[in-house]
């Protein structure tokens, strides 16, 4: 039998399985032995089994919005990603600390604005952000929680340290893949699961439901998940979560506001809704308050929320903490609100509204990653080393035109993990998105969604741009 790892070459980045001298890391010994025991052919057939079962189960995302639009799987790599428990503990505590501070920041911004008065962050950064909702001023949501669900993106830098790339506080997606990936991997690696202590993630739906119910003071609150509908790219996930939680999946047209309260239209009456896990953006929530053209929204929903008649998850206005310029201040928030030192670091970020930083950015575009402050999904960004002269010129104009709208970061050559692509094991870059639930307590199931850039040397992991995923094993 051939050894699939015999020609494995780790790159210049931190490789999660091997040291630079090709010696295997302690945490990956058993995975390595397992892979070697299988051989290439076996890996091939297991990968095939994974792809087929994902299609069969309809674990897909929509690519186009037309009739019979293309549905694609978000390919799950047959090789899992392993993170030892000791390292996970650092991530977990770091994230809990971060979310606590972010929530206090949002509450402060929409109420007393102490942090602005104390001059810790320039007021104009907040007021000029398109994600700042002045309509939220003076609001304290149920239990003072704004960011109930967060999907923080972490990468591992050249030294192997996990650093935070983005916070993603606006209905992050991907958790259904995390849960389904695990189910599929259990079938593919049943013996391995029996032998080793891989921490389970199956409690996620329980944590989610408890959090949602916690937000209402009613004895037996009615919870619903609000989705834009079957043509939304993440519809599979909306439906999946409704099934796991056993709550109704609703669309805006199912909801109606009466006497400032939210109801669902049923076959014989109106049924009151107390908590809504909404998977539509702030701008589309309520045509009376936000985008008047929105057909997705429910007229009057925002007022009902503001008056405390319905809990919205995440709360509108949470996006202010997602602005990529505001992100640079998160370590400061942790010191300011919690009087603690941040346990997780940020990636070095250049602020284009600062003269010195702007000059550096404009002169060093080929070396930097430039991002629009409110875009996601790999859109609105320039990856310097992979860009053309024309693209660089275009971004230079954009940045000079509206410096507040852009930030830049050095290209982080983040960690690689052995991945099975085109019949070979190669080093591919991976990130990590754990899902943090903020209810009565802050809970994180061990692991998260690891996304992998399947193209060799590529640093883009987004599903829309050739990314795949890996099951993430926290091993004790």
């Amino acid at each position: 039998m051939n050894n699939p790892l015999s020609e494995y070459q780790s790159k210049t980045a931190f490789d999660e399985m091997f040291f630079k001298n090709k010696v295997v890391r302690e945490s990956h010994k058993s995975l390595k032995e397992n892979i070697e025991g299988l051989g290439s052919e076996d890996l091939d057939s297991r990968q095939d089994l994974i792809d087929k079962s994902m299609m069969k189960m309809g674990i897909t995302f929509n690519v186009y919005h037309d009739m019979r639009g293309t549905e694609r799987i978000f390919p799950l790599n047959v090789i899992p990603r392993v993170i030892p428990f000791s390292e996970w503990k650092v991530i977990e505590e770091g994230l809990q600390q971060r979310i606590k501070a972010l929530n206090l920041f949002i509450q402060d911004i929409y109420n007393d604005q102490k942090i602005l008065k104390d001059g810790k962050i320039p007021s104009e950064y907040i007021l000029n952000s398109s994600t700042f909702l002045k309509e939220c001023m003076g609001i304290t949501p149920a239990k003072s929680i704004w960011c109930h669900i967060t999907g923080t993106d972490l990468i591992r830098d050249e030294n192997g340290d996990f650093v935070v790339l983005e916070d993603n506080l606006r209905c992050p997606s991907g958790v259904a893949y995390m849960l389904e990936n695990r189910e599929i991997m259990k079938r593919v690696y049943s013996t391995f699961f029996e032998k080793s202590n891989i921490l389970p993630i199956s409690e996620y739906p329980d944590h989610l439901l408890s959090m949602l119910r916690y937000l209402s003071d009613v004895d037996n609150p009615t919870v619903a998940i609000l989705s834009p509908g079957i043509y939304n790219s993440a519809y599979f996930e909306h439906s999946f979560l409704a099934r796991k939680l056993g709550v109704p999946l609703v669309q805006a047209s199912d909801l109606v506001i009466k006497d400032n309260k939210v109801y669902m239209k049923t076959i014989k009456e109106l049924k009151r809704v107390h908590v809504i896990y909404r998977r539509i953006d702030d701008a589309y929530l309520d045509p009376l308050t936000f985008n008047p053209d929105s057909l997705l929204g429910v007229p009057g929903l925002f007022k009902s929320f503001r008056d405390g008649n319905v809990a919205l998850v995440n709360a509108p206005g949470t996006g202010i903490a997602d602005d990529k310029l505001i992100y640079t201040f998160v370590p400061e928030f942790i010191r300011y609100y919690l009087n603690e030192e941040p346990k997780l670091k940020n990636v070095k970020t250049y602020n284009c509204t600062d003269k010195t930083d702007l000059k550096y950015v404009i002169e060093n575009l080929p070396k930097l990653v430039v991002k629009a402050v409110n875009e996601a999904g790999g859109y609105g960004m320039l990856v310097g080393p992979a860009s053309t002269k024309e693209e660089q010129a275009e971004f230079k104009d954009k940045i000079l035109d509206d410096p507040r709208n852009y930030i830049a970061q050095p290209v982080v050559n983040f960690s690689t993990s052995p991945s099975y692509v085109d019949g070979k094991l190669g080093a591919r870059h991976v990130d990590l998105r754990p899902y943090i639930i903020y209810g009565e307590e802050i809970k994180i199931v061990p692991g998260g969604l690891s996304r992998v850039a399947l193209k060799e040397n590529s640093l883009v992991v987004n599903s829309s741009q050739g990314g795949g995923s890996k099951d993430t094993w926290i091993i004790k």
């Binding site: 069969k56 309809g58 019979r68 037996n220 409704a242 199912d254 669902m264 049923t266």
Partner: protein, 327 residues
């Protein structure tokens, strides 16, 4: 608890999932019966192909594309033509889209089956050539998968109100389909002016289309046109007779409205109840005197009216109702 809430939109999707999956199954059975019939016929097969195109509602889109009725073109239109809204491919797609929009309300087994059904036919539509053998194999396969879907539907999903809506859709559709099949056969055979002795085996294709031949044989023994009509219109034990389907639709409706029977509380109960009563108290002689064609037309228009009332009663919560609602 939450699972007792039936959203109007969800009820609507389940109703349509029931209708479309039944429409798909009906088409599969008709195709199967006709492929076999056409092998027995030396001439005149085009009349029967035309009758199916018409029964299914694909005749217009067929004649737009082709001048003459040819088996292969008909099959392609009926099974795989994405431009024909009633082709099997489209009907299955609709059934699956409805299921997908309420995936969290049905069971995982049901979803797996209906998804596979769609993947199978859409995969087939990409293969270059449609020969008879491959087609029969596909039909067999689809038949098996629809049965499997129905098995999951009946035996894994709770028989709650949502389920009743899917049953209501299924039986409303089935009533309509059976009526169309009888209607189009009747017209074709009248048009052909065959005498009864030579056309009996053609009438048998009506039974085949409803998978009712063996049950007919057991019930009547001898084949006559009159008995065949009686069986498919009025038998209350045959799952694919009109009377059986109307009774089942009526039962589903009363389960939804929690009406113990006896009378009606809404227009939809009144309409469907009368249809049921009419079938309970009519015989085949009276239907024949009324005219098979006319009677079928009446069934189809009544079914359309029932459908509209279902829509108004359950799926569209009017402004008035919302405004007048008090908690």
């Amino acid at each position: 608890m939450d699972n007792q809430i039936t959203l109007s939109r969800v009820a609507n999707s389940l109703y349509w999932m029931g209708r479309h999956s039944e429409r798909a199954e009906s088409l599969i059975r008709i195709l199967d019966a006709h492929l076999k019939l056409s092998m027995d016929l030396s001439t005149g097969t085009q009349y029967f192909w035309k009758a199916i195109l018409s029964a299914v509602g694909c005749l217009d889109s067929y004649t737009e594309k082709y001048k003459t009725i040819e088996r292969d073109n008909v099959l392609h239109t009926l099974i795989l033509d994405s431009e024909c809204s009633e082709s099997l491919l489209n009907v299955i797609w609709h059934a699956r889209e409805n299921a997908r929009s309420i995936r969290e309300r049905i069971t995982a087994e049901m979803w797996l089956d209906i998804n596979e059904l769609y993947l199978r036919i859409s995969g087939f539509s990409e293969s270059p050539k449609l020969d008879g053998d491959a087609l029969l194999e596909l039909l067999d396969d689809l038949k098996l998968r629809t049965r499997s879907f129905q098995g999951g539907w009946f035996h894994t999903m709770s028989h709650n109100k949502e389920w009743q809506f899917s049953q209501l859709g299924m039986y409303i559709e089935r009533t309509d389909q059976i009526s169309r099949i009888i209607d189009n056969f009747h017209r074709t055979l009248t048009e052909l002016k065959d005498d009864a002795s030579t056309s009996l085996f053609k009438w048998r294709a009506v039974l085949d289309s409803l998978s009712a031949t063996e049950m007919y044989q057991k019930t009547y023994g001898v084949m006559t046109v009159n008995s065949i009509l009686e069986f498919v219109f009025l038998n209350n034990e045959l799952p694919r007779s009109i009377r059986f389907s109307i009774q089942a639709a009526h039962t589903a409706l009363l389960n939804i409205t929690e009406n113990k029977g006896g009378s009606f509380q809404s227009n939809v109960e009144k309409k469907l109840g009368r249809m049921k009563a009419n079938f309970d108290f009519i015989d085949i002689k009276e239907i024949s005197q009324f005219g098979i064609e006319e009677y079928n037309e009446r069934i189809q228009s009544r079914i359309a009216e029932v459908h509209d009332l279902i829509k108004i009663t359950f799926f569209e919560l009017s402004e008035e109702k919302v405004l007048s609602y008090t908690n």
